[in-house]
C-alpha cells in the first residue's frame, strides 16, 4: 500500500517525458532542420521561403495554443499581434533603426503592452463575449494600421531591407534567415512547454477545467489568465517581426480578422493543447493552401469542407492522428 503511494507520488498522471509525446516534436523539428538540405536539390529559394513562412505562422499558432488550448480563451484577434510585431519592425526600419534585436524587442514589448491593456478588459468576459471583444480589439488595431498614412496607410509599408544582426546583413541570406526563424520557433515551443508544465501552467490548465474550484482554493483566476494572454501576445509579436522581415513588407492585411480565424483553424487542425499540434496545423494549413490555390481558382470551396471533416472526425487534430487517435482528458 505505501509502495503504491510512493509510486503515485513519483509518477504524476501526465508524464511529461512520455516517449510518444516526445517523438512527434523531435520528428517535426528534425524535419524542419533538414528541409534546407533536401531543398538544395530543387527549388531552394522557393522551399526556404515557404518553409520560413510556415514556421513564422507556427510561432503565432503556438502562442495562440497557449491561451486557446491551455487556457480555453478563444481569441479571435490574435492576428493583431502579428500585425503589431510587423509594424514595430517596419516603423523602426523606416526611422532608421535596423538592428534585429532592437526590432524584435520592440515588437515583443509593443505586443505585450497591447495584450495587457486589451486583455485586462477582455478577460472579464466569457465565451462568445470574449470572442467578440477580442475580435473588436483586433479590428481596432487593423483600422489604426490602415490610418497610419505616414507608414503607408492601407497600401502598407515596404521595408528598405531586412533587419541587421550586430550591424551585419546576416538575415539577407535566405538560409540564415530560415535557421533564425527555426531557432525562434524552437525557442517559443520550448518556452511554452516549460510554462505549461510549471506551476503557472498547471494553474492555467486547472482553471481551464474548473475556474470556480481554482478560485475557491485561492487562485486569482483573472490574473493568471491575463499573464498567459500577455505571454501569448508577446510570442505572436515576435512572429510578426519575423513576418515583416521575411516579406520586407508590412501591411494592415496581416491583422485582418480572417488571419485570426486562420490561426484558430491551424491550432484546431493540429490539435489543441499540445503545442506541437500548432506547428503541424500551420504546416498543414499553409501547404494545403499553397497546393490547392495552385490547382484551382476556387480552392476555398474544397479547403473549407476539408477542414470541417478533419475537425469533426479526427479527435485531437493531426497530433491526435499521429498519436494513434488516443487522447487523455
Amino acid at each position: 500500500m505505501s509502495a503504491d503511494i510512493a509510486q503515485a507520488v513519483r509518477t504524476p498522471l501526465r508524464r511529461p517525458l512520455d516517449p510518444r509525446a516526445l517523438a512527434v516534436p523531435l520528428v517535426v523539428f528534425a524535419a524542419l532542420a533538414l528541409l534546407p538540405a533536401a531543398a538544395a536539390f530543387g527549388a531552394t529559394s522557393y522551399v526556404l521561403s515557404l518553409g520560413a513562412r510556415v514556421m513564422i505562422f507556427a510561432i503565432a499558432a503556438i502562442s495562440l495554443d497557449l491561451i486557446l488550448g491551455y487556457g480555453a480563451m478563444v481569441s479571435f484577434g490574435h492576428a493583431a499581434y502579428l500585425g503589431i510585431g510587423a509594424y514595430a519592425a517596419g516603423i523602426l526600419m523606416a526611422e532608421g533603426v535596423d538592428d534585429a534585436l532592437l526590432g524584435a524587442g520592440a515588437a515583443i514589448a509593443a505586443s505585450g503592452l497591447f495584450a495587457l491593456v486589451t486583455g485586462y478588459v477582455s478577460i472579464r468576459t466569457k465565451g462568445v463575449a470574449f470572442i467578440m471583444i477580442t475580435l473588436a480589439f483586433g479590428q481596432m488595431a487593423y483600422f489604426v494600421a490602415n490610418s497610419l498614412s505616414e507608414y503607408g496607410g492601407s497600401d502598407g509599408l515596404t521595408m528598405a531591407s531586412r533587419s541587421t544582426l550586430l550591424g551585419l546583413k546576416l538575415l539577407k541570406n535566405d538560409l540564415t534567415f530560415y535557421y533564425v526563424v527555426l531557432a525562434c520557433l524552437a525557442g517559443s515551443y520550448l518556452l511554452c512547454r516549460a510554462v505549461v508544465a510549471a506551476r503557472f501552467g498547471r494553474a492555467l490548465r486547472a482553471i481551464r477545467e474548473n475556474p470556480v474550484r481554482m478560485a475557491a482554493v485561492g487562485y486569482d483566476v483573472e490574473r493568471i489568465r491575463l499573464v498567459a494572454y500577455v505571454i501569448a501576445g508577446m510570442i505572436a509579436g515576435l512572429s510578426g517581426f519575423l513576418l515583416a522581415n521575411q516579406t520586407e513588407f508590412v501591411s494592415p492585411a496581416y491583422m485582418a480578422w480572417q488571419r485570426s480565424g486562420e490561426l484558430i483553424v491551424m491550432v484546431i487542425l493540429g490539435g489543441m493543447g499540445s503545442l506541437v499540434g500548432a506547428i503541424l496545423g500551420a504546416v498543414a494549413f499553409l501547404m494545403l493552401e499553397e497546393t490547392l490555390s495552385h490547382l484551382m481558382e476556387h480552392w476555398k470551396v474544397v479547403f473549407g469542407p476539408l477542414l470541417v471533416l478533419v475537425v469533426l472526425f479526427v479527435r485531437g487534430g493531426l497530433t491526435g492522428l499521429l498519436a494513434g487517435g488516443k487522447r487523455h482528458g
Binding site: V9, A198, R202, N210, V217
Partner: protein
C-alpha cells in the same frame, strides 16, 4: 466566548423579488462545529456562497479572523484560510486526485507565477497533498483522474482539498449528499475526527449526522435564522418542530 473565527451580521441577498438571505447573523467560534440546517430552498447554499465570496451580499457585514471580508473576492478569502466544499461536487476532472490537492497546496505555498520547473514533480507539494489524501483515506487513489472517482470519493477529495489549504474555517455544503450509506458513515467519522481541530460551518440534511456532530445548530427558513443554539435546545424549539423537523423530531 473567544473571539469568533467567522461573524455574520445582517447579511442579506435577494434574487429579484425573492429574498434568499434575510438579515442573517451568526458566528462560528474557534474549534466549533456549527451546523446550518433548513428545508430545501431555505437559502443555505446561497449563504455559503456569500461567505465564500462567490456571491456578493446586498447588505450586512462578514468578518473573518478579525477582518472585514465583505468586499474581498473569493480567492483572497481562500488565501486567508476560508476553505469550502461544494454542494455539487467540484473538482478538476482531468487532473489526478493528487494533483487536485497539490494545486491547493501550491496556491498557499509560494508564488504560482513560476514559469519553469515541472510542478507535478515538486516533492514538497506532492508530499503535503498526499498527507491530506491520507487523512481522508484516499491515498490509494492518488493517481486516478478525479473525474473517474466515485461520487463518494469525490466528496472525500473535496475535503482533502479543503484540508490541504490549512484552513481556519471549513465551509461544508452537504458533504454527505448523494453518497451511499457506507461512505456517508465514513464521512461522518471523518468529520468527527476533524471536529475541534477546525472551526466548521456544516450544512447538512442528514439529521442524525447533524445532531451527533454539532456543537451548535442554526435553523434557516426562508432565508431567516429562526432558531439557534445547542442541539437539544433546537430539537425542543416549538417553532423548529412545527416548521421544519416535523415528524422526524416527533
Amino acid at each position: 466566548m473567544a473571539e469568533p473565527i467567522l461573524g455574520l451580521s445582517g447579511v442579506s441577498k435577494r434574487f429579484g423579488a425573492l429574498v434568499v438571505s434575510d438579515d442573517v447573523s451568526l458566528t462560528v467560534a474557534p474549534g466549533e462545529l456549527h451546523a446550518l440546517i433548513g428545508p430545501n430552498g431555505a437559502g443555505k447554499t446561497t449563504l455559503i456562497h456569500q461567505i465564500a465570496g462567490s456571491l456578493a451580499s446586498d447588505a450586512g457585514r462578514i468578518g473573518f479572523c478579525g477582518r472585514d471580508i465583505t468586499a474581498l473576492p473569493m480567492h483572497e478569502r481562500a488565501r486567508l484560510g476560508l476553505a469550502r466544499s461544494f454542494q455539487i461536487t467540484s473538482v478538476v476532472p482531468g487532473f489526478s486526485a493528487l494533483e487536485n490537492v497539490a494545486l491547493a497546496v501550491q496556491a498557499r505555498s509560494g508564488s504560482s507565477f513560476r514559469f519553469f520547473g515541472n510542478a507535478a514533480r515538486e516533492a514538497a507539494l506532492n508530499a503535503q497533498a498526499l498527507e491530506a489524501l491520507e487523512t481522508v483515506a484516499l491515498a490509494a487513489r492518488a493517481d486516478v483522474p478525479a473525474g473517474l472517482l466515485s461520487h463518494g470519493e469525490k466528496r472525500a477529495l473535496e475535503l482533502a482539498i479543503a484540508l490541504a489549504m490549512r484552513p481556519k474555517l471549513l465551509l461544508l455544503d452537504e458533504p454527505m449528499a448523494g453518497t451511499g450509506r457506507e461512505e456517508s458513515l465514513k464521512l461522518v467519522a471523518l468529520l468527527a475526527s476533524l471536529k475541534g481541530r477546525y472551526a466548521i460551518l456544516l450544512v447538512e440534511h442528514d439529521m442524525h449526522a447533524v445532531f451527533s456532530l454539532a456543537d451548535r445548530i442554526s435553523v434557516l427558513i426562508y432565508g431567516r435564522i429562526v432558531a439557534s443554539g445547542a442541539p437539544d435546545a433546537v430539537r425542543a424549539d416549538p417553532t423548529v418542530r412545527a416548521a421544519y423537523l416535523g415528524e422526524e423530531a416527533a
